[in-house]
């Protein structure tokens, strides 16, 4: 993470922690690696996200939500001067049944950024099984440029 300033790292940590309510808090995401090139996030197993009564298989929807969240983080890290962003569209392929109680790992990056749009892709697998991808996603985000950053809004309670 050498290409990210200490200030940005602190902002990321604060932003993540400021989400006192909401899905990201409930998913209990942990940032494993972060750089302008790519981000890697871990989601611990949570029985709420399962599709079967035995709670041994995740619902695809939570993988979609995970990809969407981590794309947002990848954009925040990779792009300067963004006040807000919104997912424009999202495509997810479910490559295997998500049958495991292991933690889930998501690796995502922004592969192209323009003034108004960011393009993302990412992969999902169970911890220790990187060779058996369970989902892959691509998305585009609409960026709103501005001085009031997403970070300021979240940590100081201002709406932009």
């Amino acid at each position: 993470m050498s290409d990210i300033t200490q200030k940005k790292m602190e902002q990321i940590a604060q932003m993540w922690n400021a989400r006192g309510k909401g899905l990201i808090t409930h998913m209990a995401l942990e940032i494993e690696e972060v750089s302008t090139e790519s981000v890697r996030v871990r989601m611990p197993f949570n029985p709420d996200f399962c599709v079967d009564a035995e709670q041994s298989m995740l619902h695809g929807g939570i993988l979609t939500a995970l990809l969407d969240s981590v794309f947002g983080l990848a954009n925040f890290v990779a792009i300067e001067g963004v006040s807000t962003m919104a997912t424009l569209d999202l495509r997810v392929d479910y490559l295997r049944p998500a049958r495991s109680r292991a933690d889930v790992i998501v690796q995502a990056h922004c592969f192209r950024k323009t003034r108004h749009i960011a393009f993302n892709s990412g992969s999902v697998w169970f911890a220790g099984h990187e060779d058996a991808e369970i989902a892959r996603g691509t998305a585009s985000f609409a960026l709103t440029r501005g001085e009031t950053s997403l970070f300021d809004a979240m940590t100081k309670g201002k709406t932009s």
Binding site: L23, F49, V51, T64, A65, D68, V92, P97
Partner: protein, 133 residues
């Protein structure tokens, strides 16, 4: 398949309980459902908008029910999805209507629309594929 039986099945799926929705109407090619807003659904905590992934998940759930309302254990197997986000989903109930555009022996295509106060002002539109074998 009556709505009451389907909702009883829905309540057995942990993630569907997390989403907190009820099927409102059902016929051989359609399903309509209503999701109740919950703090755990929030994506933007400042504006209190729904998380895009929750909207996509709710639409996927509604689509799976339209395809296979009589699922016994787990809902229909999803292959992939594409979602267009058209407006922010604000605090309040969210509706989804799934329309099975094609159901073959092995595959089904389902289009889903979601909205809040006005059906004409869609929050999101999605296309979902399911494997039926």
């Amino acid at each position: 398949m009556d709505v009451q039986t389907v909702n009883a099945n829905v309540s057995r799926v942990p993630f569907f309980r997390f989403l907190n929705f009820e099927v409102r109407s059902l016929d051989s090619l359609h399903a309509e459902a209503e999701m109740t807003f919950d703090d755990r659904h929030i994506g933007n905590p400042i504006m209190e908008y729904y998380h895009g992934g929750i909207i996509a998940s709710f639409m996927e759930a509604t689509a799976a029910i339209a395809v296979q309302p009589d699922f016994a254990d787990v809902p229909a197997k999803p292959i992939n999805l594409t979602v267009d986000y058209l407006r922010p989903g604000v605090k309040g109930p969210l509706f989804a209507r799934a329309n099975v555009t094609r159901k073959g022996k092995r595959m089904a295509s389902v289009s889903v629309l979601s909205w809040q106060t006005d059906r004409e002002k869609a929050v999101a539109e999605g296309l979902y594929h399911f494997l039926l074998v």
